[in-house]
Each structure stands twice: as C-alpha cells, then as structure tokens.
Symmetry: C2
Subunit: 266 residues, 2 copies
C-alpha cells in the first residue's frame, strides 16, 4: 500500500495534505532516473496485458484546471503502444448524454480486456462541478457517492482494476500555470476565462473533492492523492502506482496451444 | 507525390511491385536516423493538430497476416500523445455489426476533429477476406468499390485527410514471420492456424488486394503500397508520408482570443 493511497473510513483533509514533492523526495535527478526505469517497465507490462487480453485497467485522472491531467497522460504513457491504450476525455455532456443517467457515457467507455483505459475527467465531475455549480439538487448529488461505489464495485468484481488519482496542486501553483498559459503562445489555447470563474470557488471545489475522495475511497477502488506541484514527482508517483498495480495483475504472454511439430508452413 | 503513392486510373500489379527496401534505400542506418527525425516531427505536428482541433487524420492499415500492422502502430506512433490518437482494430464483426451495413461500424469510428485515427484493418476487409472466403455474392462485393469511394469522398470533403497503406510483404517473408511467431514465446499468441488457411489462398488475396488498390485509388484517397519486408524501411516510409500530410495541413496552435492585460489571476 502506497503513501499516497487513501484508506477507507479514514478521513483526509486536502488543506493538510502536501502538494509538494519535497515532502516525499528531495532528489529530483534520481527520481527522474527512477521514472525512466518505471516507464520502461510500464511499456513491457502493457505489451503482456494486451497479449494476454484478460485484465482491464482503468486509470481515472481528476484535478483542478491546470492540475496536470494532460501532461500526466502525455508523459507517463509516452512510448506505450497506442493500440493498447484508449484515452477518453469527458467534456460537458452532450444533449444525448444528458438524456441518460450520468453513468451511461462512463460505462460505454470502460476498457475492454487487455486494454488500459484512461479517463481524463470522469463520473466524478458529477459530484464536483455539478455540485459546486448547483447543476442538480443536493439530494441528487448526495445519492451519487453510493451509486458510484456500487458501479465501481461491479467493475472491480468483473475484472477491471481501478486506479483513481487526484492531482493535488496548490492555489498558488495554479496561478503560476494560468500565467504561463497566458504568456506562452503554445499554451494559449488551454486558457479559458471560465477557468478563472472556477478558481474563485477554489474552497468549494476543495470541499467537493474531499467528499468525493473520502466517500468514494473503497477497498476495491481507493483514491490516490498525488502531490502535483512538481511535475517530475507527479509523473514518478503515478507511474510507480500503475506499474505496481500491473505487476500485481502479473500479465503473461499466452503460451502456445498448438503443437509446433504439427505445423507446416508451405 | 510519393514514390509509393498509387495513381488513379493507373493499374498496379502487386507481383511486379517490390516488397524490398533495397529498391529504394540501401543505407539502413541513415534511414533509421531519418526516421527518428521524422518521429520527432510527427510528435510536434500532432500536438498542434490536437490543439487546433480542426483537421482529422485517418490512417488505414491493411496487410496480409504478419504484414506488420501492429508493429507499424507501435513503432511509428511511439511517443505520440495517446490522448490525440485513437486506434481501432476491426475484428470479425459482431452480431450487431452484421445486422447493419458494413460501413456502419467504420463510420462510428472515424476520428473527431484534432485527432489521429488509426484503423488496424478496415472496411477494406469487406472486399478482401469477405470476397476470398465467399462470405457474400460477387455482385455484392463488386458494388462495394464505388460505395467505398463515395464514403471516402464524403469524409474527405468534410475535413478528414485519409492515408491508406498496404504493407506489401512477400510470401517468403510471411513464412519467416510465421516461423518466428512459432519459435518466440513472446509471439506465440499472435499465431493462429487460421492464418495458414489464408496463406494457402495467397494468390486469391493478392488479386483481391490489387482490385481494392486499383479500384479505390482516388484523387481524394489514394492507396500507398509500402515495401514492407524490411521493417526499418516500412516505418520510415509510412512515417514520412504521415509527416508530409500533416505538414500540408499545417496545423497551428490557436492564437489567444483574450486580451491578456484584462486578465487578473487572483
């Protein structure tokens, strides 16, 4: 069990949980070297996962704006065979999605056997932005925590390993990243004034995240709260947890079911 | 226009089209160095394609078994952000897919704006295996060439750039790759005795491929026949064509629509 993994029934406070790498690692260079080794392991484990076609891995990424979801995907999964990874970015629901229950579009996108599925945002938005922006009534979003736990329980029992990550950044770090999105022409497209509106409700979001994390940390799908102000630590920590989880699944290249001596290639 | 790009109206014979790299490049090392440069360009171009969210790129891969479709995806797209790539592997149609027209599952899977879609097999199976194995009548598969051209025409006119590749290997090369799948425990899972049945019909498949290539090479979606006995050349040639196509689309990071001086990050 991991230093960043939450424990069912044990309440966590985000404002007393560090966003800084230094609390865990003080040597950036050695951490980056370890990360490169872990990446190589991930690439190898994924090949076996895909070849075996037995397990499903679902990585859920949640964070405040500029928290590093996109960067995590780009950096941690760099080099993994794209044939074995499916990234689903959940945006504002479409009319058709809204006409169904909130888990409908989620369920459609869970990974098939052998695949790594990555959710960039997820069903947790339905107890986060939906709650803070009062898009549904309190009784509705409150009922969702149990529904989500039960949904994830079913996924887990039917062969999906769930890894949920909250990328924890400080309000100060978000300001610096927004500024860099304004200053860097390559990053302008990521900046939206809407994000500033959400920033004004920072405390409300932290409260909503705390509930999502505390109420949806289960034995089968615990949250991981990753100190994410330093990208080098965030990448290392997430990669390590994924590699360890895959290592426990222990995927194997399927062994031949054919008798080689009987095969004649003309 | 490329040396491997087919020309509408100009008939191509596969048995007089080389499967060997040496006909085009004699220096493997320098080709591999060029490939690495192209890969870096591809990674950069894809970031812009995704950021801009305007164009769609669809890469179609077809080949005989062991022709190198999986290896191409793994090698050429290594390092490209998996968030911007969606690989769809078309297998034997499901009951639901068969209950629809053959382009139904294809159309559902075309890339959205900003994305690179990769088809590992495609609608072309409906004029290849379906024809050779006589799964539909001749009049049915014959009508499909025009239907496919019209479908691809619509895709092209509505903003999808299509790149179709036939990975051309010799019958001898296939035998060696099958043998290596038998010999290498990491590759056993890829071997199927069904593939040997298809190998027996090699000439029928070549005829079907020739028709698919000749009848479905259009101005808007020409085929590329890639000499693929040498993987290092295949990877280089395909990567170069993709990079050139993206270069012509010339994606740009969107410029800011906001007045920076008006933005206050509190």
């Amino acid at each position: 069990m991991h230093e960043h993994q939450c424990t069912p029934g044990k309440s966590l406070r985000l404002d007393s949980t560090s966003t800084k790498a230094k609390a865990f690692r003080d040597d950036r260079e050695s951490t980056e070297r370890e990360f490169e080794k872990l990446r190589a392991e991930l690439i190898e484990l994924q090949r076996k996962l895909y070849a075996e076609g037995k397990h499903k891995l679902l990585v859920v990424l949640q964070a405040m704006d500029a928290g590093g979801k996109d960067g995590t995907i780009r950096t941690v999964l760099r080099g993994v065979n794209p044939q074995g990874v499916h990234v689903e970015s959940f945006k504002k629901p479409t009319e058709e999605e809204l006409a169904h229950d909130y888990l409908w579009r989620i369920h459609r996108s869970v990974p098939r056997a052998g695949m790594i599925g990555v959710f960039n945002r997820s069903h947790y938005e339905d107890v986060l932005i939906v709650r803070v922006e009062k898009l549904v009534s309190k009784s509705v979003w409150k009922s969702r925590f149990d529904q989500i736990n039960e949904f994830e329980h079913m996924l887990s029992e039917t062969g999906t390993k769930l890894l949920k990550f909250y990328l924890h950044i400080s309000k100060q770090e978000q300001a610096e990243r927004f500024q860099s999105r304004l200053d860097d022409p390559r990053k302008n497209w990521k900046f939206s004034t809407e994000d500033l509106q959400k920033r004004k409700k920072w405390d409300d979001y932290m409260e909503a995240y705390e509930d999502a994390i505390n109420l949806c940390t289960t034995e089968w799908a615990p949250w991981h709260v990753i100190p994410s102000d330093q990208k080098w630590y965030r990448n290392f920590a997430i990669c390590r947890i994924i590699v360890e989880a895959l290592g426990e699944l222990d995927p194997q290249f399927p062994t031949a079911t054919i008798d080689r001596s009987q095969v004649q290639i003309d």
